[in-house]
Symmetry: C2
Amino acid sequence: MPKVTEEHRANRRREIVLAARKCVMDQGFHKTTMADVIRESGLSAGAVYGYFKSKEEIVSAIADDALSTIDQLFEGILNSPDPVTPVDALRAVLEHVLRIAEMPDNDLTRVAIQAWAEALHNDAIMVTASSKYRMLRSNFEAVARRAQADGTVDPEADPKLIAQALFGMVPGFVLQRLLLGDVTPQGYTTGLAALLNAPAVKPV
Amino acid sequence: MPKVTEEHRANRRREIVLAARKCVMDQGFHKTTMADVIRESGLSAGAVYGYFKSKEEIVSAIADDALSTIDQLFEGILNSPDPVTPVDALRAVLEHVLRIAEMPDNDLTRVAIQAWAEALHNDAIMVTASSKYRMLRSNFEAVARRAQADGTVDPEADPKLIAQALFGMVPGFVLQRLLLGDVTPQGYTTGLAALLNAPAVKPV
């Protein structure tokens, strides 16, 4: 038996994840079966099951891949030498989401929306989605804390609540992009910033 | 044949819509068929088809019912004698969403998430969802214009962009409530307001 290298395994795993993304985008999560993923991947059933036991495991892998690139993005934001502002961080995240979404044939945001719906009826997907989103939101909490340290956000505010509001802007962007088709990261964060610059807001 | 009154028709229609909501919540939109709705309603197939020709028509009715109550809410906000602030308006909308969501056995927000996913694979649902959400968002635009007139928001800002940002906070609230279970209208809008009160924000 040939020794399967780590690199080969990683490539193979990636092929399967991409095939699964394509299936979910074409027909939705509900209708996608392991048989569909196997057919789309062009691999044998044995090969695919050697990596993933169920479509729930594949969804978890899709989420891991997508969120790992976002983790890197937050690392860059948090290590910036300039003062961090939450609105700028949000814009950077949305631009990143857009770059991922605009990859041909592979709009991960469509997969994400399928996963939201599926989570309400599938405990395994719910566990995956809630843990991933909790991690993603904790990155926004780190941004809030950094902004408080930098003096761009009220230091008395609860960074967990700021993270809820900032993180909450992301699904709203994704949904408006797919359903209404008229949002951009710049316009969306400009709309938010217009609230921030409200003349009647009391200074702290 | 007895004459069917308007009131009777409205009640009957309402029964069918409630039965459909229950089906979608129990098993997701994809799996729900007209046969399921008919069974759940306890009516004859002929009776149900007399009101709705397809599950797409029922989804449209569910959305109409939900949004009509929100339209009334916005009317109240816009007719308020006090100055309107967008954050207060958002909080009122989220409190309303929560009241609807917490009705026993009938969490409309779960139906909404199913509809988002389904819209990506079903043109009729996409048309319904996009037109309803465009109307809902235009209410936020009216709030932004009113706030600009009241001096609580920069009059130079684009009210359409403010509406994108405000409307975008709603799906983010709904999703966090269902997946993470730890948001409240007050906490969420406090998080947003903390950004508004950022000490480093330049006065207009």
